[in-house]
Structures are given as structure tokens and as C-alpha cells.
Symmetry: C2
């Protein structure tokens, strides 16, 4: 082989090697590392200045964008002064890392000021997820953001789009979480009431005129509260990943004059259907496809309207057609949206969501255990509470996961909460009598790898002829949504109508006013998992439960989750 040929061969082999290398590298899961500092900052997301909890100075915080199989490492420094934090990775199942779920009191002790806690977990499924504070009511202070998990490189979605965008919807309160929390936990009960504004991707518009001219707290021309602008190129199709992290509100989202095709819910493909407005409840995520197919010489309103309560005026953003100026208001008035009190279209959307053909995970055909959960308001010991089967949840201060693993069983009530309520005698259409309601931190223990059905049974609140919408969120699992109904769930008849063919899997689902929602999951993720109404104040007032499953299979717990409650007694120098 002459020198020239030799060189060419070497070059060729080198290139081959590099190409091979890179291909391997491209398919490999990556470690994505984030350094975050949680801090107070004065923010004016809706023109009104408020002390918000931010990440790296921002609310919503930085987005996590990763690929399926990647490892996420978030070094979270608590830069608050006297307050702790914990962050939950909403929709991430934390398989083999149940201590990384970020649920204070369930999976970890809170993170103390000036401490750095390292969250490390794998994002094992593509889809649209969220993160947010899971401690007290800190989510309402602005501590939240989005997680976007892309397919592995080279893989493709079963639908086509040109661009991918994330939008978080939220409602916003001007009072501090401390003051709101105080009102909810006082005998002299003070409800949080309706939010002051709706935020789209962290921006809203509060009417500064309502607070008078003597204060400098509100400034309508603050650029921080200029509406969020989504610029689109005519003819292109956008995947909008829409998540809701409202404290309270159910929302209807729409883009004036544009249809939306629903393709994903909570990380699962949806058999596509077209809507003009998307109903979305706190804790849910959806991907919709929107094509910029309207007159490109103007802009359009995007709006978020509160439904289910007669509440705050709509939040809005600008759907901006390039090259129209992004700050140019649309020539139209804001779309009014659906009537707040019209439940029918919301039910219709819930019913419409099925797993996409070709991507159906068939549910087990029957369950090993059914827990019916009556959702009621109560007064317990003079305090206004929410409860499940007359048990109002309160968080112990030794996290369940640690307590179970290390036999600190005195840390919480060892009785099991009830699997049902008085199906025959209880009238779900009347305010609850419930003289036997209690406050407890008892937990459900599920047999490992069994199939569990949950039927959420809605009922009348303490106000006559009133029932609310509650989005329930399950940690550590997705569940099949087997069915919805109005009125009292009938175990015989209604379970025969369960969708066992193509139910969607989700992690958050609504139970509608005076209705029921049935879901099924496999208790196959060793750990302890919260299941609760995602309305932050409702969970704070007791609307939640905890499931333990296979905790004996959980590996050694990291010391970083310790330090509170009885885990201080572990001290052995």
C-alpha cells in the first residue's frame, strides 16, 4: 500500500470511526444538569408588584427540555431567608427514585434555607410535564415551570408539526401565601376567593385603576406585564404544549379564529380531535396542533377564561403573525369564551379523550380493589376542611417514605382510611351532614403490583346546590381513565360501562360537579405517593390521600431527604 493510499485509508477509517461514535453518542441518554436558586423577587406579572418566589430570578422558572431516557440533575439552592422548599416533578413517575418526587412530608423533608438539594431522576417517557413547589402553598407564590421530554433522537411523533412551544396557564393572587394560608387555617375562616388575574406564560393584566392612585404598587405600563406574544409564521403548524398550574381555576383556552387538534394529554397520545377551546384543569397538560392558516396581516387573541366559577376577567396573550408587529392589538374584541356555568361542553371534552390508535396500553380487565372516594367539605373542630370519605388529610412532619422504611410508625396514624362511604344513605345532592368527619394522616397501603380502582365521587359542598370541579393528581403513576358519570356511582351498573378498550392514561383527571370519575392503576411503583386535588388550597385543606405500595422494595434512602420530624432522632455521631 503506498503512502497516499495508506493515508486515504486511515482518513476513511477515522471518519467511519467518528461517524460511528457520533451515532452512538446521539442515541445515548444524556445527563442534563441545572443549577437553580430559589429566591424571593419583587415581580409584576400582572402589573401589580408582589413578592414572588422565583428560580434564577424567573417565574415561571427555567424550562427543562430533555429527551426520553435522559437523567435530569437539578441542584436546587434554597435562597429564601427563613423558608424551606420542595419541588415536585409533576408527571415524572420517579421509577426507582421515589425519594426524588419532591413532595414534602411524603417523600422528603423540606429543603432548608441556604441548603442545596440535588434532585436526580430519569425522564423515562416523552411528553409534556410540569414542575412546581409541593410545600405549603408555595406554588401560588410563583414557583413553577415546564418540563418537555422529547422522543429519543431519530424517533418521530405520530403527527406532524413545524415548531414546538410550551405555555403554562396560571391564576395569580396578590396576597402572600402566608396570608392566604392563615385564612384557610383559621377558625375565623377566610377563603382565598377569586384570583386577581389569569397569567399566560407568566403574564397577565390586573386593572391598576381598581387600587387607586395613592399606591405605586400597580403600574399598567410595566413591561413585565406586557402580554405574552407567540409569534407564528404563516402556514406553519405549531405544537402548543399547554399546562395549567392554577391555584384554583378551571380554564378554557382558545386562540381566536383557530382550531386546535388535541394530540397529547399528560404524556400520552390522544386520538386526535378538533376543538375551538380547550378546557384544562390544574395539573393537566395537553398538546394541541395549531396551524397558522388565518389572515396573516393581523394578530389574534389567545385567551384563558375561568369556567366553573363566575370569576376574574379573562387572561389574554397575542397570537402574532409574522411580520405583523408583535405588540399590535388584534382589531377584534377578546373572545368571550364559553359560559362559565355550562358544564356540558366540559363533560364532552372529558368523554372525547381516548388513547390514540396504535398507542393504546390496554388496561387490565379487572381490579383487585376498589376505593370509592367521596369528596366533601366539612367543618371539623370548627375548621373548614375538605375530606375524602369523611377523613380530612393532614401532612405528618416525618415523611411517610422514611417512616415506612425505618419503622417510625408512630409518626402517623396507622389505621387505614375507609375504602368507601355510606353509599346507600348519603345524599350527594345535599350539603354534607358528616358529624363523624375527622382529621387524620392515615395512609392507604396497597398490595404491591395489584390493580386498584379509584372512583372519585363528587358531592354537594356546604353551600346548597353547589358542587365544584376537582382535578385529582396521582404521583408516581399514570392511570387509565375508565369513565365519567353524573350522580352517584353505581358499582354494579356503572362499572359495566367502563371503557376497557382505549382509555387514555393520565396523571390528572377532573371529577365534574355532582359527578364521578373512575380510574385504574397498577400499584407497581415501590414508594409512597400522594393522590390529591390539584387545587392548592383544597389539598391544603385536606383534600388528598397517600398510597403506600411495595415500600419494602425501595432501596436505601439518601440522607439528603432527612432532617425533619423523627428523622432527627437518627442522630448518631
Amino acid at each position: 500500500m503506498d503512502e497516499f493510499l495508506k493515508k486515504r485509508v486511515i482518513t476513511f477509517l477515522t471518519i467511519l470511526f467518528l461517524v460511528a461514535c457520533c451515532s452512538v453518542r446521539r442515541a445515548e441518554a444524556r445527563v442534563r444538569r441545572y443549577k437553580w436558586e430559589v429566591k424571593y423577587e419583587l415581580k409584576s406579572p400582572d402589573c401589580y408588584k408582589k413578592l414572588a418566589i422565583t428560580i434564577n430570578g424567573r417565574s415561571p422558572g427555567p424550562s427543562i427540555v430533555a429527551r426520553q431516557g435522559d437523567t435530569i440533575i437539578v441542584e436546587l439552592k434554597n435562597g429564601l431567608f427563613t423558608e424551606n422548599v420542595a419541588i415536585h416533578w409533576h408527571g415524572i413517575r420517579q421509577i426507582k427514585t421515589p425519594w426524588m418526587d419532591g413532595t414534602e412530608g411524603v417523600t422528603q423533608c423540606p429543603i432548608l434555607p441556604s441548603d442545596t438539594f440535588v434532585y436526580k431522576f430519569v425522564v423515562d417517557r416523552p411528553g409534556t410535564y410540569l414542575y412546581h413547589a409541593h410545600y405549603g402553598m408555595q406554588r401560588e407564590a410563583g414557583l413553577y415551570g415546564s418540563i418537555r421530554v422529547l422522543l429519543k433522537e431519530g424517533e418521530s411523533e405520530p403527527f406532524r408539526y413545524d415548531y414546538d412551544r410550551s405555555i403554562i396557564l396560571n391564576d395569580w393572587y396578590h396576597k402572600s401565601t402566608h396570608e392566604l394560608s392563615l385564612g384557610l387555617t383559621s377558625i375565623n375562616f377566610a377563603w382565598i376567593n377569586e384570583p386577581q388575574s389569569i397569567l399566560i406564560q407568566g403574564r397577565g393584566k390586573f386593572d391598576c385603576n381598581t387600587v387607586g392612585t395613592t399606591t405605586t404598587l400597580c403600574n399598567a405600563s410595566n413591561p413585565e406585564c406586557a402580554p405574552y406574544t407567540m409569534t407564528v409564521v404563516p402556514g406553519k403548524t405549531y405544537r402548543l404544549r399547554i399546562g395549567s398550574l392554577t391555584a384554583l381555576s378551571a380554564l378554557s383556552f382558545e386562540i381566536e379564529g383557530h382550531n386546535m387538534t388535541v394530540v397529547e394529554a399528560d404524556g400520552h397520545y390522544v386520538e386526535p380531535f378538533i376543538i375551538t377551546n380547550l378546557f384544562i384543569y390544574s395539573g393537566e397538560t395537553y398538546s394541541v396542533l395549531v396551524t397558522a392558516d388565518q389572515d396573516p396581516s393581523r394578530n389574534y387573541w389567545a385567551s384563558a377564561k375561568i369556567v366553573s366559577r363566575n370569576s376574574t376577567t379573562n387572561g389574554f396573550a397575542i397570537f402574532n403573525y409574522y411580520p405583523t408587529h408583535p405588540r399590535r392589538d388584534p382589531p377584534t374584541i377578546l373572545p368571550p369564551g364559553p359560559h362559565w356555568d355550562d358544564v356540558a361542553p366540559r363533560l364532552a371534552q372529558s368523554y372525547a379523550i381516548k388513547a390514540r390508535r396504535g398507542f393504546i396500553y390496554p388496561p387490565p380487565q379487572k381490579s383487585d380493589r376498589t376505593i370509592v372516594m367521596l369528596n366533601t367539605q366539612n367543618t371539623v373542630g370548627g375548621y373548614r376542611r375538605w375530606s375524602v370519605n369523611n377523613v380530612s388529610f393532614n401532612m405528618p412532619h416525618t415523611p411517610y417514605l422514611i417512616a415506612y422504611k425505618h419503622n417510625l410508625l408512630h409518626a402517623f396514624d396507622q389505621r387505614q382510611p375507609p375504602d368507601g362511604y355510606d353509599f346507600v344513605g348519603y345524599n350527594i345532592f345535599a350539603p354534607p351532614p358528616n358529624p363523624n368527619a375527622t382529621i387524620s394522616n392515615a395512609a392507604y397501603r396497597l398490595e404491591f403490583n395489584t390493580i386498584v380502582d379509584i372512583v372519585l365521587q363528587n358531592a354537594n359542598t356546604m353551600n346548597a346546590k353547589n358542587s365544584e370541579t376537582h382535578p385529582w393528581h396521582l404521583h408516581g403513576h399514570d392511570f387509565w381513565v375508565l369513565g365519567y358519570g353524573l350522580g352517584k356511582f353505581d358499582a354494579g351498573k356503572d362499572s359495566e360501562r367502563f371503557n376497557l378498550v382505549d382509555p387514555i392514561m393520565k396523571n390528572t383527571v377532573a371529577v365534574h360537579p355532582f359527578g364521578w370519575t373512575a380510574l385504574r392503576f397498577r400499584a407497581d411503583n415501590p414508594g409512597v405517593w400522594a393522590f390529591h386535588c390539584h387545587i392548592e388550597s383544597h389539598f391544603f385543606m385536606g383534600m388528598g390521600v397517600v398510597f403506600e405500595e411495595g415500600v419494602e422494595r425501595v432501596g436505601e434512602l439518601p440522607s439528603s431527604i432527612m432532617g425533619c420530624g423523627d428523622t432527627k432522632g437518627f442522630y448518631k455521631p
Copy 2:
């Protein structure tokens, strides 16, 4: 012995026994147990509604009243939602219980929400003391109260009075401590500014007209902000135990038309002297005797005026002569008090305070070590800071006491801070150049049982021709106040003028503008002790140091103080 006599003898012996018993019981130290819950409450101490941190619903919190030698047990439940707490027992030396000093970061980890921490300590000396939050700037949120330690039963004071009363003076801010803390720790520095009002025993008067009529936050006729009334009986003498826990302000306290005789300072008897107004700095306590010897047909103003800063209008209370109506305003205008900028009378009071004859603890005639502490403002890394010898203190998140005892020495900077500054070259009358200022958590290690002199050297702030008053407070000890002076301390000449005859002992002492203050103490209390400016924002900005002494003599630390920083690594199930 006949039956009758026998009975009488038995009766007599029984009585004798009971008398003996009771006498013993009377002299015995008692255990005094308190159950406190720390909670947020909406309070209007100065008519303006604010979220305050309260104890059992009150701010100031409940008073501790005990006798010398009693054991105090406070079961402190943290009822905040996401915030920790720690309470310092100001003036109690915590002999043999250094872990009960309540100084977060120095002697304990903070107390987590819903945790109950049991403080247990002996009040070994009679006198007037205080308690308050020692975590972040929570003191400013209202978490404070008074401790009154009486002589053992049967013992008597060297002065006569009829009644004993405690009054705490404070200044009050309407912004939350979170917002104030944020301003102080931002590159875009926001000073806390002057307080909105002065509180006397938790009551002040903010002018509601200044906030306009659009808000319901301020209500001038709220009974919570009716002035504090001290009712006196004509002719009687009152011991007023006056403590100051201002966030910032130096105060002058007076009772219109009444002289006051100073008899106690920080738990030590003072050679009595008569004043018309008492200058008092944050962290100090004084007992003054006041005789109700004026025209009893009217009331008199008590007033607290800010000195050393041209600040907020005076706080006031009503000195009410029984049976005049307690709500009847005095017929006079509020006494104007001394001019805010007149330093001379304040120096005069400092110089006047000596130990009372017959109660003099003679100081050691010389010291083993002298640490001169230059007090300056600096900008370090873009942040506005206070520093001592160019070192600005920051709190580590593993408490020193635990770190020293358990060799977690990586938890803080192991170098020792400097014992002095550039005495020759540094101009205390000019703004500091200080290009070499640093932020550090290094601590001073003092040889056990040695005599330590501290000379606090005041200097110009970063504003030309400005020097402030700083009250320095030492934990775990009383110190002898050896002298004060103006200008730069001269180690040769000035130390020869030290008062080694009858210096008062105190735990808090002021260094006056452009002046110096010398103090001496014996490092005989095994533990780790903070020494810092008692202006809460100044300490928060770095104006403090930490002393370790004889930590090897400290007994086993309770696990209840653990849980934070590196003490989580102690986890061994």
C-alpha cells in the same frame, strides 16, 4: 402520756413538719412550663394591618416571670406554614446549656414547621431580660417578649418599690421581613429605611391618612392600636422594667413631668442616678423607679422618641393616674424629647452607669487578649455589607456548636478573623476604602477561662461625615464596660483610663458615633456564642462575630438541635 397529751404532741409535731416542709418548698427552685405556638396572625399594632408572627396569638408574646434558680421549659410549637423559627433568650447565659441559646446557625438548627422544640434552661440571676426570634429577620415580624427574673423568695432588692411592670419598646415596619430581607441582600440594594411607627408594649399609632382612603388596611379606630395605658396609684412607686427590641432605632423614653431613677441595667444593679429621659438601645434593658407624685387629677404622656436618626414621629403611651379615666388624653402636647442629633446627653448617660456599691463584681485587672473591632460599612462583591475588621459575617448552615463538637470543620472557614485593623493607616473619620473586605463565617477561638478585651471601634459609614450608633450584644456572658471614648482608641493611653473599680456589667452596650467602647469578659462559658450589633438589619448584613470557648467541655448535644446542613449526614438508621 395520756391520750390527750399524745394527741397534742402529734398535732404539734405534724404542724412542725408541715412548716418545715413548706419552708423548704418555698426556697426550692421551681420548674415553670410554657406551651407556646408560633403563628402568623393579622395584627394592627399601629392601626395598619400586617401579617405578624405571634406567640399564642400575641405580639409581644407572653411574659416569662420566674424566680432566680427556676428552670424554664418552653415547648415551642412552630405553627408557621413553610418557615422555621428559633428563639433566643436574651441575657440568659445558658450556663451548661449552650445548645439552648436559640441562635440559629450558632447553637441550633432552625425549628421546622409543625415541629415542637423544647427549650429548657435555668434563669440563674435575677433581672430584666428579653426573648426574641434569632433567625433571619423574624424579630421584626413581632416575635419577641420579656423575661422577668425575681429574687429568690425572701430576698429583697436594694431599693424599694410598690409595683413591678415590664414594657418593651420596639419600632415597626409594614413590609414583610421577606421583602425587607430581599432589599438588603440585593445588588440593587434597598435599605429598610425608617420604621413606620414606634411601639410601646406592642402599641403604636401610624397615621392612616397617609395611605389614602382606598385601602381598608389602616383603621385609626381599631382598638388594637389604642395607646398602651399604664395605670398608677397616686403616691406609689413603680419599678418599670424597660427593654428595647427595636429593629433599628435608638430611643429616648420619658414620662412627662416625672423623674426616673435608674437602678438596673441588663440584670445588674446600677448605682442609682436620676434622669428625665432614658436613652435605650436595641437589646438593652433598664429598671427605673418612678413615683406617681404629680397632680393625680390628670394623665401624662409617656413617649419614645427616635434619636441618632431623624426619623419617625414619637411613639406614646398614657401614664394614667387612678381614678382618672385611662383613655383620657393628657391636656398637654407630647413632650418633644431631646434633639435627635445631640450625642452629648447620650454619652453622658453611658458614662453615668456604674455598678451599685455593695454589688460590684470587680473586674480582672488585666486581660489575656485584646481584640479591636473596627465597625465599617463596605461593598463586597457588589453587595452592601457591614463588617468587623473588614470581615463581613455570614451564617453557615451547619451550626457552629455542632460543627465544633463533631468535627464538621469543613462547615465553615477555619481561619481566625483578625484581632485588629490597620490602627495607624485607617482614617475612621472618612468613608472606608476597604478594598480588601471579605465575606466569611470564620470564628474567633478563645482560650478557655482567659480574660478577653473587646474594643469596638466606630468609624465613618459609606456616607461622608456619618457614623451610626451600634448596640453590641454578647451571648452567653455579661461583660464589664470598661470605658467609652471619642475618636480612635489608643491602646496605650485609653486603656489606662479604663474603669477597673466599679464598671457595670451588661450584655449589650452601645458604641457611639465616631467613638469606641471597651469591654472585658471571662471566656468561661463552654460553648459557641454570637456577638453582634443588635440592629437586626446590621447583623443580617454581616455585623457580627462568633466566639468559641471550651467547646470540648460541652456535654452531649441533644438531637433536637440537629437536622440541618451537615448534621443530616449523621443519618444512621
